[in-house]
């Protein structure tokens, strides 16, 4: 048989080879030169699960946890597996109707597909959890997932400890690359916010294999590439939780604040901003409801931290500083006397005064003599040492700055205010270049343009107690596992005031002790302890209406070896000696003696706690709000229903317009509860005519 076309065998073999070369070429292209396929495969197949570590615990000075974690449960559902669920029973247990159930299911399937688990009801209450847990067998496709939530075992320290909120897009934009994702929570206020990086710990990543419908198929490589979650570091604060509890109890029915500092360390012992609220209100699934209903629209502004977030005229407590500066500048000495006939007439219009007589520095402090300090302040400003009043005032301010006034102290809390130490330039703007000492004479008694935060005031008391030095007041003493971020470094720097000799301090201490023994603070004596104190009563007005005075009290004790410096302020409480001073005295006793002794002192606690000093204008607004709320009941009920639907929103997303007549628009705290000053000094500062003040 002749073989035809033998050569065609070659051609066919070439065709075969050609086909295989073409295939190999495409394989090279796909497998060796196209990175996108590997990426696409990873996107397909990996599910990256973030493992949230436990947040750090905050302990008080005696290692009692004041901000801890607890387990809460979410009801989670995989809709595609929930067919046989006993819907009626479930709805009854969750207190929802079947229409809501169906709507939620629809939404979940729409958002997250029907094969992936979604949260049906977040943060179940313990009763609800117990009831559901018993009946879970009736609800196929549903499961209870635990998650860690914050809890405040002592129910105190809301303003200090702060709360957490869900991240929003703005936050994510600002904190790119820090590992936050939509749906995460972050410390929004207080210590939770400042120490967020320490508390949050390190998130773990688990990689799972996922199939084409998004169902997890087990871990990738048995977790060889997973990273473990590292729990947040615990914080040890200087707070004494018993003192904090007592402080909050004493400040019930009042608007004001307390700051107590350990002068030796600068550690804050208690920090009360009244009115306060139970911080646990802001952890459960009713969080948003509470935030809106109880806190956000309360005219008393409970979300405002009044210890650092607002500033006031310090009142007569400031006189101690005027005395110290006067002595140190040599414009007065311990023989300098001022006679007061009931008012200071040096500037034309009389400036009223409670105590009449002739005073040296010590009794002037004890009796809080306006005339004495007005005269001293004038002498400081007219001091021949300085070429003009501008430089004299600048020198005065240098003292004030070294006392931590007019500047942010650097307390470890967000949105601290600076207060105001008016500069010569500031007065040029008001009075022109040739301002007179009489123009600003109100400053001498802590009124006028001078403003401080209460923490600054407490710090001044600590400086006087220490005789010229302080550590920046702070809440956190140490971080478990070391201060890796250097957040506590600034609290280890010893700040010194301008050089002031010992006898000046002794003189002021003597005067402040006199306050407690025979002066304005007589009713606030602490049995068996030498307390040095200074009262203050600050005139104020709100929208032109003159209100009751703010009551101030600053003190430290014991005089010989000061262990506590304290400042107390009650808004519109009237005379300082009846509210602020006794509160301070009880706290001092509690701290130094560890308990309150004597039945009359214990009764005093109850009496002070019951004392209702809510400013009348706030009461009026509260009443107005309550009636408004009644009128709006329908809308509120609707809103509440939405709140419980498990979709948590940050408080700032709440529409303020939903309550038509707001109590006071300028007072509404924005994002961080207190960017605006809540009280009037701002208005006072702006007024060009300085009123002559009476202070006691």
């Amino acid at each position: 048989m002749p073989v035809f076309n033998q050569s065609r065998s070659r051609v066919i073999q070439f065709i075969f080879a050609g086909v295989f070369i073409a295939i190999t070429g495409q394989l090279i292209n796909l497998q060796l030169f196209s990175g996108q396929y590997k990426l696409a495969a990873d996107n397909n197949a990996f599910y990256r699960k973030v493992i949230y570590p436990d947040r750090g615990i905050i302990f008080d000075r005696k290692k009692r946890g004041i901000l801890e974690n607890t387990i809460s449960y979410d009801l989670v559902v995989i809709p595609s597996e929930a067919r046989g669920t006993d819907t009626m029973t479930l709805c009854r247990l969750l207190n929802i109707d079947t229409a809501t159930y169906k709507k939620r299911m629809r939404d979940l399937i729409f958002k997250n597909t029907s094969v992936k688990p979604s949260v049906f009801e977040a943060l179940l209450t313990p009763e609800m959890f117990a009831k559901l847990n018993e009946n879970m067998y009736r609800f196929p496709g549903f499961s209870l997932n635990e998650r860690s939530v914050r809890t405040y075992p002592y129910n105190v320290g809301a303003a200090v400890l702060g709360y957490m909120a869900e991240v929003d897009t703005g936050f994510l934009r600002r904190h790119k690359g820090e590992g936050y994702e939509m749906g995460d929570y972050f410390g929004s206020t207080g210590l939770e916010n400042i120490y967020e990086k320490v508390l949050m710990g390190q998130r773990g990543i688990k990689r799972y294999i996922r199939d084409n419908k998004g169902r997890l198929q087990g871990s990738w490589e048995n977790g060889a590439y997973d990273t473990a979650a590292v729990a947040g570091n615990n914080l040890y604060s200087s707070i004494d939780v018993e003192l904090q509890e007592l402080g909050e109890k004493l400040m019930q029915n009042k608007v004001g604040s307390i700051v107590a500092i350990d002068p030796k360390t600068g550690g804050i012992l208690c920090m009360v901003s009244a009115p306060t609220y139970n911080p646990n209100y802001l952890t459960g699934n009713q969080r948003k409801k509470h935030l809106v209903d109880m806190l956000y629209f309360d005219p008393r502004l409970p979300l405002l931290n009044r210890t650092v977030g607002t500033f006031y005229s310090p009142g007569s407590t400031f006189k101690t500083m005027v005395g110290i500066i006067g002595m140190n500048e040599g414009v007065i000495d311990d023989n300098f006397t001022v006679s007061c006939g009931g008012a200071y007439y040096g500037c034309g219009r009389p400036m009223g005064c409670h105590a009449a007589g002739t005073f040296t520095l010590k009794p002037a402090i004890s009796k809080s003599c306006n005339s004495y300090f007005a005269a001293t302040y004038r002498r400081i400003l007219e001091n021949g040492k300085y070429p003009n009043r501008d430089s004299a005032l600048s020198s005065f301010n240098q003292y004030a700055y070294s006392f931590g006034l007019g500047r942010r102290l650097g307390v470890d809390l967000p949105s601290e205010k600076m207060g105001n130490m008016p500069t010569p330039k500031y007065y040029h703007g008001i009075f022109g270049k040739n301002w007179q000492s009489c123009n600003i004479i109100s400053n001498s008694i802590g009124q006028g343009e001078i403003t401080t935060t209460l923490t600054q005031l407490a710090n001044v008391m600590a400086i006087i107690a220490n005789k010229g030095w302080y550590y920046t007041p702070h809440l956190i003493d140490s971080i478990e596992g070391g201060d890796e971020l250097g957040m506590l470094e600034k609290f280890k720097i010893k700040h010194k005031t301008k050089e002031i000799p010992e006898y000046v301090w002794e003189e002021v201490h003597e005067g402040m002790q006199g306050t407690m023994e025979f002066g304005t603070g007589f009713y606030a004596k602490v049995p068996g302890i030498n307390v040095c104190g200074k009262t203050g009563t600050v005139e104020n007005a709100y929208r032109g209406e003159k209100l009751k005075d703010h009551a101030f009290f600053g003190a430290f004790a014991p005089r010989e070896n000061p262990r506590i410096a304290i400042a107390v302020m009650c808004e519109n409480a009237g005379y300082g000696a009846t509210s602020a001073a006794p509160i301070a005295s009880l706290l001092i006793e509690k701290y130094l003696k560890d308990s309150i002794s004597g039945n009359d002192r214990k009764a005093k606690i109850e009496q002070l706690a019951k004392m209702d000093l809510i400013p009348p204008q706030m009461k009026r607004q509260m009443a107005k709000r309550d009636s408004l709320r009644q009128a709006q009941q329908m809308a509120t009920a609707k809103k509440a229903a939405r709140d419980t639907s498990g979709v948590e929103e940050a408080p700032e997303e709440i529409e303020i317009e939903s309550i038509p007549s707001k109590p006071n628009p300028t007072k509404t705290p924005k994002k961080d509860s207190g960017r605006t000053a809540a009280v009037l000094p701002e208005e006072l500062r702006k007024s060009t005519s300085i009123k002559r003040k009476t202070a006691a």
Binding site: M1, F4, N5, Q6, R8, S9, V11, I12, Q13, I15, F16, A17, V19, F20, A22, I23, T24, Q26, L27, I28, L30, Q31, L32, S34, Q36, Y37, K38, A40, A41, D42, N44, A45, F46, I209, R210, D211, N212, Q217, G218, W220, E221
Partner: protein, 448 residues
């Protein structure tokens, strides 16, 4: 003599092919195992259960081994004698599917057998066509240079293809075009191959380029050819007419025939698959079938290129060395549809990467070249034509299947020979190859 009698069956059998066959079947079972494997299940228990695809495939392989042994035990004369009868049987079976066919995956090309097994006659027909073609071309009186013989041979090859198209099995129908290679070896004019591949290139060019750009390019080519051949044209006027005719035909094809095929002949999903291969989107509104469907108020499922995209992702993610045995994420996540059958190559590509694919393809190529060698050493035309048919069928399957998984060819549902899961397919290729081995073993016997 005794010794010779003992080894009579294995005498002259080509062991290289048997080894390659065994290796490929083993790779196939391994690949199916990779696709089916789930880390948290006891694979041994499910293997012994016989419920999984890989254990079924192993059973099929066992059956195939028995069938192969029987084929090796028969006399090769049987195949020449019964070739035409087998062909007739195959055609009848295919026609029978229209009556008793079972609908599997939308094509009514299966005949249900006992025990849950189904038979696809179109698969078996490949064998019968190979035999019948070999029989026809080996007839003494046939002169294959004659057009008439070529047409008859073409009809033998394409008759089952027509039936397959009627059963909506385009992939299986296309396989029958591969006989053109065997026929080419036997003297089919090379022009047919050239014209065929030119037409293919023109279709691809039509898809890739804008119609006007392509028309201009074609015109330029024609002008250049006329310019180059101007002297010959002066001598021979017919040449000019021929060039102009070819140019006209090309433009006509590009302008009218190709759009007509895509819009009127092919289904919407087929056009989409072909368009997606070159990275373009096909507008189903132009498709006549889709229009018919939508006008009769049936919802037109919008097809996308999900399959080929996932397939390319799986293979591409393998990289150079692959992710490793049982570590392919795409395979584990079932991202590639039909992965144990038509897309089996993806599991290999993902697990063993470029190196694995290359080795795998070299094994195939080695098998093909080996079969061509076997074909060339045959003394009978019957055996040679048959061997070339086997090689052609294998090449077509491999080329189309692998090309479609890597996006070189539109998706048509044809399996990877010896590797893809499926009893029909494995049995068909086993029979094809072992008949060849039987014929080869007897190549010394007589001239047929």
């Amino acid at each position: 003599m005794n010794r010779r009698n003992q080894n009579i069956v294995t005498q002259g059998v080509d062991y290289v092919v048997i080894w390659l066959y065994a290796i490929l079947v083993a790779i196939g079972i391994l690949c199916i195992f990779m696709v089916e494997y789930r880390p948290n299940t006891d694979w041994l228990a499910s293997f012994l259960d016989g419920k999984t695809s890989y254990s079924k495939q192993l059973i099929f392989a066992g059956v195939c081994a028995i069938v192969a042994t029987f084929i090796l035990l028969t006399d090769s004369k049987l195949f020449t004698a019964f070739a035409n009868l087998f062909y007739l049987l195959g055609i009848l079976l295919m026609i029978a599917t229209f009556a008793i066919g079972k609908n599997i995956n939308g094509s009514k090309s299966w005949i249900p057998l006992a025990g849950g097994f189904n038979l696809q006659p179109a698969e078996l027909c490949k064998i019968f066509v190979s035999l019948a073609l070999a029989k026809y071309l080996s007839r003494q009186e046939i002169d294959f240079s004659k057009i008439r013989s070529q047409l008859v041979a073409g009809a033998i090859a394409l008759a089952p293809a027509v039936l397959s198209i009627l059963q909506h099995e385009l992939g299986l129908a296309l396989v029958y075009t591969s006989f053109v290679i065997a026929m080419y070896r036997e003297g089919l004019p090379a022009q047919i191959l050239i014209i065929g591949s030119s037409f293919g290139a023109l279709v691809v060019a039509t898809l890739i380029l804008e119609p006007n750009v392509l028309a201009i390019i074609l015109t330029i080519i024609a002008a250049v050819v006329i310019f180059v051949l101007r002297k010959q044209i002066k001598k021979k006027k017919g040449l000019l007419t021929m060039i102009i005719t070819i140019w006209l035909v090309c433009v006509g094809v590009q302008r009218f025939v190709v759009p007509y095929i895509f819009n009127n002949v092919l289904e919407c999903y087929q056009s989409t698959r072909i368009y997606s291969m070159v990275g373009k989107e096909y507008n189903c509104d132009d498709n006549k079938h889709a229009q018919d469907k939508s006008s009769s108020n049936k919802t037109v499922r919008k097809p996308d290129d999900y399959n080929v995209r996932q397939s390319k992702i799986a293979i591409g993610s393998g990289g150079f060395f692959g992710r490793g045995f049982l570590k392919g994420t795409q395979t584990r996540g079932k991202y590639v549809p039909a992965q144990s059958t038509d897309f089996i190559f993806t599991s290999l590509g993902e697990a063993f990467g470029f190196v694995g694919c290359l080795i795998f393809l070299i094994i195939y190529l080695f098998l093909l070249i080996r079969i061509v060698r076997i074909a060339e050493r045959q003394r009978s035309t019957f055996s040679r034509v048959y061997a070339y048919s086997v090689a052609s069928i294998l090449l077509f399957h491999i080329a189309v299947n692998v090309s479609m998984t890597i996006g070189l060819f539109p998706i048509v549902g044809i399996p990877l020979p010896l590797v893809s899961y499926g009893g029909s397919s494995l049995l068909t290729f086993t029979v094809l190859i072992f008949i060849l081995l039987r014929l080869d073993a007897d190549r010394q016997m007589v001239l047929r």
